[in-house]
Assembly symmetry: C2
Homo-oligomer: 238 residues x 2
Amino acid sequence: MEKAIVLLSGGIDSTTCLAMAVDKFGFENITALSIQYGQKHSKELESAKKIAEHYKVLHIVKDLSDIFSFSNCSLLKGSDRNIEHSSYAEQLEAIGGEGTVSTYVPFRNGLLLSFAAATAISIGAGVIYYGAHADDAAGRAYPDCTPEFERAMNEAIYEGSGHILRMYAPLMEMNKAGVVEAGLSLDAPYALTWSCYEGDDVPCGTCGTCIDRQAAFDANGIADPAIEKIEQKNNDGK
Amino acid sequence: MEKAIVLLSGGIDSTTCLAMAVDKFGFENITALSIQYGQKHSKELESAKKIAEHYKVLHIVKDLSDIFSFSNCSLLKGSDRNIEHSSYAEQLEAIGGEGTVSTYVPFRNGLLLSFAAATAISIGAGVIYYGAHADDAAGRAYPDCTPEFERAMNEAIYEGSGHILRMYAPLMEMNKAGVVEAGLSLDAPYALTWSCYEGDDVPCGTCGTCIDRQAAFDANGIADPAIEKIEQKNNDGK
């Protein structure tokens, strides 16, 4: 069976990708890659570790935080910009309907995919799963999540690897609600995921990704299993 | 004036790119990027430093060697493969005329260009100079040096940056002799460059890149200024 690499941040989208890849290739043929790129907190990476353990897949964690040391993205340590507490739609509107949001890490996905490609070639994997979806691409808020970027990067990886590697973005046509629907059908362990840009004990509920996540679970008519887990834990502690 | 980033390894090709970029943008608008990616020796990076000083450009050196820790490329520390001492043409013939050579670092140029893109966006540069040329691309010995890769990666960088960044590969149509010709016309400081894959005091003269380099200077009817400098030094020391 072909081997695959999955970029695993620890959020909803990459966890759904991992669920799909395990379903197709079997856990023994999957390597999950998680990257420390200078995020202000490590909640996502802790989640990624638990999710990889859940699926019993190989898990490589790399610290590439030095790479973005010149960036002032609001997600990164050392930045003097604050994370905005409004929906992506509101943030886009504030900048005229199109353009990068403050949480865009410059060319991050190009770098992560390039690292994944270098690793895939080295370990003999033939495909990289990548969790960009339609909501990320809207208004080019995250230009490295658009179908145009995905097509070009796929081609760059195919050509630059000597025609032995492809990337696959199974969520590209879905919105976040569709992603959650697809993941639920595969029993993706969403209770283990972390999305919030802040690193507190409980998701803030008001940053762009918290708002999106909540809407996606609402659209599927269920409560967020990660929030339920936290509430359960708090109740048990009482 | 627009700012530009130049990937500078310390060899002939990237030094020629830097000469072209300085000629076009002025040294004060150039940032040179050099990457430690686990090379067995640091001769190239020492050369890069001298070349950047020669041009008085900003110079950023980054250690990304951890990135390729899974690769067994013969150029890298920890590899059990030896560097081959034959021309690229002979190496290609030995593998049937097409395929990657042992000194191909998996998707290295994708990674370096992605790092350059992240840095360019952060410092407000609009173009990345990249020194791939036609000889590197032959038979896809280095698939991440082909025009097909260059076109796709350029597109990925343009799309992934939100349409604010391009890459430029001014040597893509030239062979190595043409690169040297172009560099000589701009007084590129070739005496400061280092190409040899081995890290001895004197270039080995028999690895793929030494053979190519020598042929390129021969084709231009001049001696290699770096070799001349070493010989001069040795004579002075006698």
